[in-house]
């Protein structure tokens, strides 16, 4: 598979993107810190049967809160949701790692754009996993370093079939979609605004991964992998390629993983 990508141009774009990515991750860490503080407060309120408007104030409250953390972490929905999210990210990281070990994705015969996309996407999933686990840890829960069990079985069943780029892209789309659907659903399940923002923000990124992969999949299926290039040759693209990347006006959640699916047992 070949492409018209200029190597130095892509390197520049990747460097620029990584700078943006680093900035966003710094902001993301602030969000997580804010979230942890808010979630601790929210969870403590729930454990004491206090109303949503109750406020824990002062050093004394914070000290009590700290000692209460391990007690609520084990069965806390927020912690379970975060652990499941981390498990999905762990699986995504592992799967992209496998893909990049294949010659037609990460090797000499790979399309340069697809290879670069897989590398950056794996990095972004690593960051997501670290972020989710950091929040779990701060809430007194156990970090999740294992892959989602349900979809690990699916990935393992697909591995023998990963003999071409189309199969790999199809698997990646499935994982990105599960992640996006799960986090979109999680927005309505978690207890604080900061956590809703975190999940909504990451869901959008997984959806972006899916959008690009759908377009790539369509071009491969259409026998035109040479059109997978950055920038694309717009006048060569088929009409349907313009909309294949975003099939739903409202992102579905039917396939969202339940909160407990990847929770630490």
């Amino acid at each position: 598979m070949s492409d018209s990508l200029d190597g130095s141009a892509l390197a520049g774009l990747m460097e620029e993107s990584q700078d943006l990515h680093a900035d966003a991750m710094r902001a993301g860490r602030h969000q997580l810190d804010d979230y942890v503080a808010a979630a601790k407060e929210s969870s403590f309120e729930q454990s004491r049967g206090l109303g949503a408007g109750a406020v824990i104030a002062g050093v004394a409250g914070a000290a009590v809160l700290g000692s209460a953390l391990p007690a609520f972490a084990s069965g806390n929905t927020d912690v379970q949701v975060l652990q499941t999210a981390a498990s999905i990210e762990n699986l995504a990281v592992a799967t992209y790692g496998v893909a990049l070990g294949l010659p037609f994705i990460g090797g000499s015969s790979a399309n340069g754009v697809v290879k670069a996309f897989a590398q950056m996407t794996m990095k972004q999933h690593q960051d997501h996993a670290m972020g989710f686990n950091a929040a779990v840890k701060q809430l007194g829960g156990k970090e999740q370093h294992k892959p989602d069990p349900k979809y690990l079985a699916y990935v393992n069943s697909q591995k023998p079939k990963l003999t071409n780029a189309a199969a790999v892209v199809g698997l990646a789309i499935a994982l990105e979609d599960v992640a996006a659907q799960t986090y979109t659903k999680n927005v309505s399940q978690v207890s604080t605004g900061d956590l809703r923002q975190l999940f909504a923000g990451v869901a959008g990124v997984e959806a972006q991964h899916k959008a690009i992969l759908l377009a790539v999949q369509a071009l491969i299926a259409g026998g035109a992998p040479q059109l997978i290039a950055l920038p694309p040759k717009l006048n060569k693209l088929p009409k349907a390629a313009g909309s294949v990347g975003f099939p739903d006006a409202f992102y579905p959640t039917k396939s969202a993983s339940p909160a407990s699916e990847g929770a630490v047992k």
Binding site: L13, G28, F117, Q197, A200, P231, F246, F250
Partner: protein, 263 residues
């Protein structure tokens, strides 16, 4: 010269059309879920809208933005940022839209702006303003405009259910400059830059809304629209030759402020 010389991927066109048809079926399935969310949101907000006091009780907390809004977002793909902290909850003049309903009205206005923007682009393209428009680009603009229409209709159904006027125009402080930018666009690249900014701002606004509105139906609906706007943005970045997923988090620094609503 045979047919494939004229259209080197004629087979892919058929396959892609078939795939698009399948995806439309999936879209209809997801719409049922959305309708449920919107119905519950409408029911709850309808009662609240009857009482000024109740409206004031449904404040969406620290509803503000940490960023600079849609115009600054145009041409930029940076995001990130902390949760908002300042408040814009105070009633603005005689606006009937308050609390969560102000966010609903803001969302409807933003969607209308997107619909109008893509409409303008499609009209100009039809007049040859950008030269020959590739079929994929025309398809992109047409389908994206349709999805924004769906979003606007959903938000307006909530306003109607709450007994409030629908948002039929673009009552936003940012609208004139956005429209001006589109009108002055001389190429598809120019158009894509403006559209990318609008989509980015919309995605960030919905992330912000998901974090800050109080109603569960509103949260779920905002959460389901944010990824779609992000997908639009990603395709536009790719069209522009930029990395299509530049950040690991959508962020809120470019979200549109509720104070931008002039209705």
């Amino acid at each position: 010269m045979n047919a494939r010389d004229h259209d080197p991927i004629a087979i892919s066109e058929r396959e892609l059309t078939s795939m698009t048809s399948d995806l439309k079926d999936m879209h209809e399935d997801s719409m049922a879920e959305v309708r449920d969310n919107m119905a519950s949101l409408t029911d709850r907000l309808a009662g609240i809208a009857q009482s000024q006091a109740s409206r004031r009780s449904l404040l969406f907390g620290s509803l503000a933005v940490a960023g600079v809004g849609v115009l600054a977002a145009c041409g930029s793909n940076s995001s990130g940022g902390k949760s908002a902290s300042s408040s814009t909850n105070s009633p603005s003049g005689s606006s009937p839209y308050m609390g969560d309903l102000k966010v609903v009205a803001l969302a409807a206005a933003l969607e209308n702006l997107a619909v109008a923007g893509y409409g303008l682009v499609l009209a100009n393209a039809g007049k040859g303003a950008y030269g020959k428009v590739p079929p994929a680009i025309a398809e992109f603009a047409t389908v994206v405009q349709k999805q924004h229409k769906d979003h606007a209709a959903a938000w307006n159904s909530v306003l109607k259910g709450a007994g409030l006027p629908k948002i039929t125009g673009t009552p936003l402080t940012i609208a004139p400059q956005a429209v001006s930018a589109l009108k002055s666009a001389k190429s598809l690249g120019d158009v894509a830059k403006v559209a990318q900014g609008l989509e980015s701002a919309a995605a960030q606004t919905y992330v912000f809304a998901a974090a800050n509105v109080a109603d569960p139906g509103g949260i779920a609906t905002a959460a389901s629209i944010a990824p779609v706007e992000a997908m639009h943005q990603s395709i536009l970045l790719f069209v522009l030759g930029q990395y299509p997923v530049p950040n690991s988090d959508i962020g809120i620094s470019g979200a549109v402020q509720p104070s931008a609503l002039t209705a």
